[in-house]
C-alpha cells in the first residue's frame, strides 16, 4: 500500500511505515513559541520540573502579537521570554522581525520533510514547503521543551487536486476560501490536506503559504504541498533526490478527493461570522465598507502588497475608508520600500504599520465598533475578533481588499 505525503514525512522521522490512526512519538525539529504563550509555556515547563531544554537550537521564540505593546502588561511577555532564552541557552529569538509563521520559513528554520510544532494554530503554514507542522497548546509545548518529542496520531489525508489556469482576478486566497466552504469548518478535522495539480504547481511559495495557513480553518491538522524547485529556491537548499522522494505514492489512500478546474474559481469572501460562510464577491455588491485590512500571516507578503499597489497606483482609498497595511515581516517591509510598493500604497492613502500580527488578532490599531464592516485579508472572521461582537468581518483576497478600498463597498471588478 502506498503512502500519502504526510505519512511519508512521519514515517521517515520514526524510521518505519505508518498508517492513519497509528499513534507514534516523533522527535521534533522545530518548536515555535509566540509572545502570547511564552509566559504560560515557561510556567508549565517549570511546574513539570525540567532542569534543561532538551534541544535549545530547535526552539524559536517570536514576539509578534503584542508588538508594539498596546496594553499595560504586554511587555511582561517579552521579559519572560528573554529571561527564559538567557537561562536555557536559546539563541533563536525574534523580537521585532515580524509574524512567527512568516519567519519560520523565511528566516531559514523549517525545511521540506521537517516536523514542527507551534503554540499557534496557524503553525500549519509551514506545509507550504512540504513540512509537517501543526499547532499545540502551551502545556504540550512545555513537554516538548523538556523531552524533545511529542506523540501524534497519523492523520488520514484529503487530496485536493486543482488543474488549469486561474482567472486573472482570482488568487490563492479565493481558492482556499472556496475549499473551506466546500469542506466546511470541521470537514477536515484531524486530517491532512494535500494540495496537488497543475494550478498548484504554478503557484508561488508565497501563494501556497496562504493556502497552508488556512487549512486549520477547515479543522485540518496540516495542509501540505509537494516540495519542488521553487520550494528549494525559497529554502536555499538543493533540489536533490531526498527532496524529490517527498511526494505521495500513486497508490496512496485518501479519505476523500476533491477535484477543481481552475477556470471555475471566482473572487469570494468568507462572510460574517464563520470562515465557511463563502459567497462570491459579485453577490455582495453594495455592501458598504468602513475599513480594509491588508496583512497577516495569510496575506501580508510582498506579492500581496504588490497586488494591492498595482490596483491602488495613481488612485486613492475612498475618503470614509481607513485602509491599514501591515507587512508580515521586516524583510517584506524592506523589499516593499525598495521597490516603491510602500510609496504607492502611502500615496493612495493607506496607513502603513510596523510588521506583526496587528489587527488580525484584535490587538493592533484599527479596532472597530458595532455594525462597522471590515474587508480583511487574514484568516478568521469570528465574533469579536477585531473589536465588538457586532463588527462584520469579510475575509477576502488582497485584490478584493484593494478594489473595495477604492470603491467604498465590496467589489472585485
Amino acid at each position: 500500500m502506498g503512502h500519502t505525503l504526510v505519512e511519508k514525512i512521519i514515517g521517515n522521522k520514526v524510521g518505519h511505515d505508518v498508517k492513519p490512526g497509528d499513534i507514534v512519538t516523533v522527535s521534533v525539529d522545530w518548536c515555535m513559541i509566540d509572545d502570547i504563550m511564552v509566559p504560560f509555556a515557561v510556567q508549565k515547563f517549570e511546574e513539570m520540573g525540567f532542569s534543561k531544554v532538551a534541544n535549545p537550537d530547535s526552539v524559536v521564540l517570536i514576539y509578534d502579537h503584542f508588538l508594539p505593546a498596546t496594553q499595560v502588561d504586554d511587555s511582561r511577555h517579552f521579559r519572560v521570554g528573554d529571561e527564559f532564552a538567557e537561562k536555557y541557552g536559546i539563541k533563536n529569538v525574534h523580537r521585532t522581525d515580524g509574524i512567527c509563521h512568516q519567519l519560520m520559513t523565511e528566516a531559514g528554520y523549517v525545511k521540506p520533510g521537517d516536523i514542527a510544532f507551534g503554540t499557534d494554530s496557524h503553525t500549519v503554514t509551514y506545509g507550504c514547503v512540504g513540512a509537517f507542522s501543526t499547532g499545540i497548546g502551551y502545556t504540550e509545548m512545555a513537554g516538548i521543551l523538556g523531552t524533545g518529542e511529542l506523540w501524534i496520531k497519523v492523520p488520514e489525508s484529503i487530496k485536493i487536486e486543482i488543474d488549469g489556469t486561474l482567472p486573472g482576478n482570482v488568487t490563492s486566497k479565493d481558492i482556499i476560501l472556496r475549499i473551506i466552504g466546500d469542506l466546511t469548518a470541521s470537514g477536515a478535522t484531524y486530517q491532512s490536506l494535500e494540495f496537488t495539480g497543475s494550478t498548484v504547481d504554478a503557484l508561488s511559495v508565497a501563494s501556497r503559504m496562504t493556502m497552508s495557513n488556512m487549512a486549520v480553518e477547515a479543522g485540518a491538522k496540516c495542509g501540505i504541498f509537494v516540495p519542488d524547485e521553487k520550494t528549494c529556491d525559497y529554502c536555499k537548499i538543493p533540489y536533490d533526490d531526498k527532496i524529490k522522494a517527498l511526494r505521495a505514492d500513486d497508490d496512496a489512500k485518501y479519505s476523500r478527493i476533491l477535484r477543481y478546474r481552475a477556470e471555475d474559481f471566482v473572487p469570494v469572501c468568507a462572510c460574517p461570522s464563520l470562515v465557511d460562510n463563502i459567497k462570491p464577491v459579485s453577490e455582495l455588491a453594495g455592501t458598504k465598507v468602513n475599513q480594509v485590512f491588508l496583512g497577516s500571516c495569510t496575506n501580508g507578503r510582498l506579492e500581496d502588497l504588490r497586488a494591492a499597489a498595482a490596483i491602488l497606483k495613481g488612485k486613492h482609498v475612498v475618503e470614509f475608508v481607513k485602509m491599514i497595511v501591515t507587512p508580515a515581516s521586516r524583510k517584506i517591509y524592506r523589499e516593499a520600500l525598495h521597490d516603491g510598493t510602500i510609496e504607492i500604497l502611502s500615496d493612495a492613502g493607506c496607513i502603513i504599520t510596523t510588521p506583526g500580527c496587528g489587527l488580525c488578532c484584535g490587538r493592533g490599531g484599527g479596532i472597530l465598533s458595532d455594525d462597522e464592516v471590515v474587508v480583511a485579508t487574514n484568516n478568521r472572521n469570528f465574533l469579536g475578533r477585531m473589536g465588538t461582537s457586532k463588527v462584520k468581518i469579510y475575509l477576502a483576497s488582497p485584490v478584493t481588499a484593494a478594489k473595495s478600498a477604492i470603491a467604498g463597498e465590496i467589489v472585485n471588478s
Partner: protein
C-alpha cells in the same frame, strides 16, 4: 446526589469510572476559541481573572451563571480556531464537569485532555436535550437525560493515562520523579 454538587462516585477505583449528575448549558455548532475566551483577556496572569469573560462575545452573562459541576452540551466542531490553551483552562476553572459535543477541533481536544478536562463525543444527545436538563454521566459508558440513555466511548489508552494523572503537567512531574 444533587446536581451542581460536583460529587463524584468512583464505581471502580482502578479504572476511574465516575458517576455524576450535571445541569446542561447548551451551545451551538462551531463554538470557536475566540468565543470561549477573546484575545484581549489571554494575557491576564491567572485563569481566575479570565473567568468572567468566558463565552462573552456570544453570551456575556453565561460565565456568571455556570455553577461548579454543570456541563456544556454543544454541536459540531467545539473549540475550533486558535491554539489558546486558556480556552479549556477557563472552562475547567468555571467548574464545568465535562463537555458533551458532536465533535471537537483537534487542538482544543488535546489541550482539554492535557488539562484534565473531560470531553465526551456523542452524536445524538445534542439534538434531543434542552438547556437546564439534568444529565447523569457514567464515564466510558453512558449518559442519561430525560429517561433516555446515550452510549459513550472510552478514550484511547495514552489519553486516559494523561487524564488519570490529572493532566500533562502532573504526568511529566511523575516522569521527572517529582510525584
Amino acid at each position: 446526589m444533587a446536581s451542581g454538587s460536583f460529587e463524584k462516585v468512583y464505581l471502580d477505583a482502578d479504572k476511574e469510572i465516575e458517576l455524576f449528575k450535571a445541569k446542561i448549558w447548551k451551545l451551538g455548532d462551531d463554538i470557536d476559541t475566540d468565543i470561549i475566551l477573546p484575545t484581549e483577556y489571554l494575557a491576564y496572569e491567572t485563569v481566575e481573572e479570565m473567568k468572567p469573560y468566558a463565552f462573552s462575545p456570544l453570551r456575556p452573562e453565561l460565565a456568571g451563571q455556570i455553577q461548579p459541576g454543570d456541563m456544556i452540551v454543544a454541536g459540531n466542531n467545539f473549540g475550533c480556531g486558535s491554539s489558546r490553551e486558556q480556552a479549556p483552562e477557563v472552562v475547567k476553572a468555571l467548574g464545568i464537569s465535562c463537555i458533551v459535543a458532536k465533535s471537537y477541533a483537534r487542538i482544543f481536544f488535546r489541550n482539554a485532555i492535557n488539562n484534565g478536562l473531560l470531553l465526551i463525543e456523542q452524536p445524538d444527545l445534542y439534538d434531543e436535550v434542552n438547556e437546564g436538563d439534568i444529565a447523569e454521566v457514567e464515564t466510558g459508558k453512558e449518559i442519561k437525560v430525560n429517561g433516555k440513555s446515550y452510549t459513550i466511548a472510552s478514550l484511547p489508552d495514552n489519553l486516559l493515562e494523561i487524564l488519570e494523572a490529572g493532566g500533562l503537567v502532573k504526568a511529566m512531574r511523575k516522569k521527572n520523579g517529582l510525584e
